[in-house]
């Protein structure tokens, strides 16, 4: 079959909600787009362990510590689901890890912000995981089967993450003035970066249209951002916290919250590597990778020995 005809059939198949598998024919651009998106998603899960890991030894109670440990463990697991899903497209784990460590691959810019207080752990669960869930639920219907199936597991497991974050903030907001102030400070710092998680405006997102046509994406960046604001503002009001946006106002006619403009220069800066913690995150991941080299080598050596001398 000719390339043109293959492409035509592919387009028609995904348009009719057909699912692509690793052994299906797919255009190079589809494969490349998915490898980039899935590996960056995996990197985000792995780097995302760091801001929260920062509080593992300092959680305010054994209960909170066990919960946080379980959450960080989940992020590691999600990274592994996603790396494996990307590997079904023919890329290798080594290539992906190298791209993360040498800076060619990106990860979500949100993880380049610091977590100086315990309230940040609440804000990450509530806002960052809330925004992630908003982005990820539609990915469970992505046209690429291995990604969609990985996302189903991720979403199912992630459902506790947002609640535990909100639970931390409810507790702080019912506490002392100092605890409420700490919660407000965390919201002030995490609100705008959370809105940036949905990516640039639709007009500034050149690949969005193709991803929508290929059924990788289901909703536009701006649609998802609006949905996030609409569900999150009432939750902030319940907590008695103020969203740090002077332009935030409920629009009776549309039933949506109008909100101000995120600082897109900051978004580009952090994405380009100049955020508060970019260097620290990559330095730490590199160190963990280098320090773990002997484990990988030992596993390979052990496996090779057993292939050479199979059990009787």
């Amino acid at each position: 079959m000719e390339a043109g005809e293959l492409l035509e059939r592919f387009e028609a198949f995904v348009a009719s909600e057909g699912k692509i598998e690793s052994d299906s024919w797919m255009p190079d651009a589809y494969r490349k787009t998915l490898v980039r998106q899935i590996s960056q998603h995996a990197h985000s899960e792995i780097i995302g362990m760091q801001p929260e890991g920062n509080w593992l030894t300092r959680a305010p109670s054994l209960r909170r510590k066990a919960i946080l440990l379980a959450k960080v463990q989940d992020e590691a697991g999600h990274g592994l689901y996603l790396y494996a899903a990307a590997e079904t497209l023919g890329t290798s784990r080594d290539e992906m890890v190298d791209a993360l460590l040498d800076g060619t691959a990106k990860y979500s810019s949100i993880f380049n912000y610091p977590t100086p207080t315990w309230a940040d752990i609440g804000a990450i669960g509530w806002l960052v995981d809330g925004a992630a869930i908003m982005n990820q639920v539609p990915l469970c219907r992505c046209s690429y089967g291995p990604y969609a199936r990985a996302m189903k597991r991720v979403c199912k497991e992630e459902s506790f993450h947002q609640r535990q974050g909100f639970d931390i903030l409810v507790t702080l907001c019912r506490g002392s003035d100092a605890q409420r102030a700490m919660a407000q400070d965390a919201l002030d710092r995490w609100w705008w970066p959370s809105l940036m998680m949905f990516g640039p405006h639709d007009g500034d997102s050149p690949h969005s249209a193709t991803s929508m046509r290929w059924r990788i994406k289901r909703f536009s960046n701006d649609e998802l951002r609006q949905r996030f604001v609409d569900v999150t503002v009432p939750q902030a009001h319940f907590l008695g916290l103020r969203i740090p946006d002077d332009e935030l106002v409920y629009d009776d006619t549309t039933g949506h919250w109008k909100f101000g403009e995120p600082d897109w220069d900051e978004f580009q800066r952090v994405l380009a590597g100049d955020g508060p913690c970019n260097a620290e995150r990559i330095e730490r991941r590199t160190r963990a990778h280098v320090d773990g080299a002997w484990v990988r080598e030992a596993a390979e050596a052990y496996a090779a020995k057993h292939v050479a001398a199979p059990a009787a």
Binding site: G18, E21, A66, R149, F160, R163, F166, V231
Partner: protein, 89 residues
């Protein structure tokens, strides 16, 4: 030799184990699996894997492997009380 048979019921779903089949090679295993397991339109795709390629956990180890997950209710969303009046969480 024995082969393990996995069926994908519909496009997009994972393959699930449905049983085993006897066949002398991979090609015949595929044909036999098709005849035996998919006579009623159960499949969008089939996998056959030599039974000897399956690495299985020992049922005697089940407690050691899986019991430690049982007392961690905080991994489930229902563990957290959502206050009245809060929605979309």
């Amino acid at each position: 030799m024995l082969w393990e048979v996995f069926v994908r019921a519909r496009g997009g779903l994972h393959h699930a184990h449905v049983g085993s089949i006897h066949a002398s090679d991979a090609e015949l295993a595929m044909e036999n699996a098709r005849d035996v397991f998919t006579r009623r339109g159960e499949a969008a795709s089939l996998w056959v894997v030599p039974s000897t390629a399956i690495v299985a956990s020992d049922p005697a180890d089940a407690d050691v492997l899986f019991e430690p997950a049982m007392d961690k209710e905080f991994r489930h969303p229902t563990y957290y009380e959502v206050p009245d009046g809060v929605t979309n969480l």
